[in-house]
């Protein structure tokens, strides 16, 4: 054959390369590729898990934000209710207090009036006793007319004092 081409040697080369290719596939290419694929899958799985966790976290964050907004609204409503109740209670209490004060005042006035009257009665009684005592003394010391005059002037003075 020209160029020293030898079919037997070509076949030997082919056999040699086939053995090499098969051996390399079994020993290096396939195991390394499998390992790389496994790692790729693992990273993809991790990535997917992380994405899911992130989405879940975002969803939870949204839910919590919504809940916080709802709670704030509820708190604001409750505070407004409480303010309303407080003002109502304050007004009621003020009214009650004013009524109590009025009642107390009225009672004090009536008590004062009663005291005044009692004092007046006591004073009149004292005057009467003083007058009778003085009349007795005048009668005992002087005539009847002088006693009578003294009694009248004393009664007059007493009456003016009470009127003022």
């Amino acid at each position: 054959m020209p160029l020293n081409i030898d079919w037997q040697q070509i076949l030997l080369h082919l056999l040699n390369f086939t053995i090499l290719a098969f051996g390399l596939y079994l020993l290096l290419y396939n195991p390394i590729k499998k390992f790389m694929k496994k790692r790729e899958d693992e990273y993809r799985e991790r990535d997917e898990k992380t994405r899911n966790a992130l989405a879940e976290a975002e969803e939870k964050a949204g839910e919590y934000a919504r809940r916080i907004a709802e709670s704030e609204k509820e708190i604001a409503e409750k505070m407004a209710d409480a303010d309303r109740e407080l003002s109502l209670a304050r007004e009621t209490k003020l009214k009650e207090t004013a009524a109590e004060a009025d009642a107390l005042l009225a009672r004090a006035r009536s008590d004062a009036q009663a005291e005044k009257e009692k004092m007046l009665e006591e004073a009149n009684a004292q005057i009467e006793s003083v007058v009778s005592e003085m009349a007795e003394k005048v009668i005992l010391k002087g005539g009847e007319s002088a006693a009578y005059d003294a009694f009248l002037s004393a009664a007059k003075k007493n009456g003016e004092k009470h009127e003022s």
């Binding site: 160029l3 020293n4 081409i5 030898d6 037997q8 040697q9 070509i10 076949l11 030997l12 080369h13 082919l14 040699n16 390369f17 053995i19 090499l20 290719a21 051996g23 390399l24 596939y25 020993l27 290096l28 290419y29 396939n30 195991p31 390394i32 590729k33 390992f35 790389m36 790692r39 693992e42």
Partner: protein
């Protein structure tokens, strides 16, 4: 410090002188059995210096191919037993190297043939490793005894025309198989359309790797060229060739495989359905 430098320089100079003396003194021990033209012709055709393997005379390239296969498979077995079970999610340097290697060939297969690439990835990985390691084998300068009694340096397996034809034709068969699996008879037609592909692939490999081998042979034939120059030649014509030819074959196989296995687009039917909808 200065004294140390002087000592190092003196030792280095002594070694160089001893080597030159050895080269000059041993030169008369060896006589050249063939002229430069005979050496070059034998490097191309391997008609004269054959090696006996189990009683069969074969080209040195085939022996190189066996050595490459054995070395690569032993290395792969060691890696499979000791390194792969210890692979970690965060890779170390060696694991990174292996993953980059597999990932690169797998990526080439996916880029060239996005529709169908699992078998193609495994094939281009094996072909790439074979071409690269086989070409880099030249750097080691392994010697074998020819049947004629002379010692021959083992060349790259693909600088042997038989090895190049084998790999070129196998790549074509892989492309053809992709066409059949992807498109049936139409795929066969598509592949057969590029009937020159096995020849072009084979001879591209053969020519590229042979040129490197020839330049290396030429450099090593003359004693005067055997200093410093082999370093440049080794890098340029061996390592770069190894990388470039690996890339070229892998890329071409992937592209042709992708082209013939690509499913046919059903445009006519779509047009018809669009018209009926209108």
């Amino acid at each position: 410090m200065k004294k140390q430098k002087t000592v190092v320089c003196a030792v280095f100079g002594a070694i160089i002188l001893a080597l030159i003396a050895g080269i000059v003194l041993t030169d008369s021990l060896y006589t050249r059995t063939e002229s430069v033209s005979e050496t070059m012709q034998d490097a191309v055709l391997h008609e004269k210096n054959k090696i006996s393997v189990f009683g069969t005379e074969v080209n040195p390239g085939l022996v190189s191919a066996f050595i490459v296969t054995a070395a690569v498979l032993v290395f792969a077995a060691i890696v499979r037993i000791f390194a792969v079970p210890r692979f970690r999610i965060v890779p170390g340097k060696f694991q990174m190297l292996l993953e980059t290697l597999v990932g690169y060939f797998d990526g080439q297969a996916k880029n060239g043939s996005p529709h169908r690439n699992s078998f193609l990835g495994a094939y281009v990985f094996a072909a790439g490793v074979y071409i690269f390691v086989g070409t880099a084998l030249e750097l080691f300068g392994l010697q074998a005894q020819a049947t004629s009694g002379v010692s021959v340096a083992l060349p790259a397996p693909l600088s042997d025309i038989n090895g190049a034809i084998a790999l070129g034709c196998l790549s074509y068969l892989v492309i053809l198989s992709g066409g059949i699996v992807g498109n049936g008879i139409r795929g066969v037609g598509k592949t057969l359309k590029d009937f020159s592909l096995p020849v072009s692939m084979s001879f591209r490999l053969f020519g590229a790797l042979l040129s490197g081998a020839l330049v290396t042979e030429l450099v090593y034939y003359y004693k005067a060229l055997s200093f410093v120059l082999p370093v440049v030649v080794g890098v340029l014509f061996t390592l770069l060739h190894a990388l470039i030819q690996t890339y070229v074959l892998v890329m071409l196989t992937s592209l042709f495989y992708g082209e013939v296995s690509e499913p046919r687009k059903k445009q006519k039917k779509k047009l018809k359905t669009e018209k009926t909808e209108v």
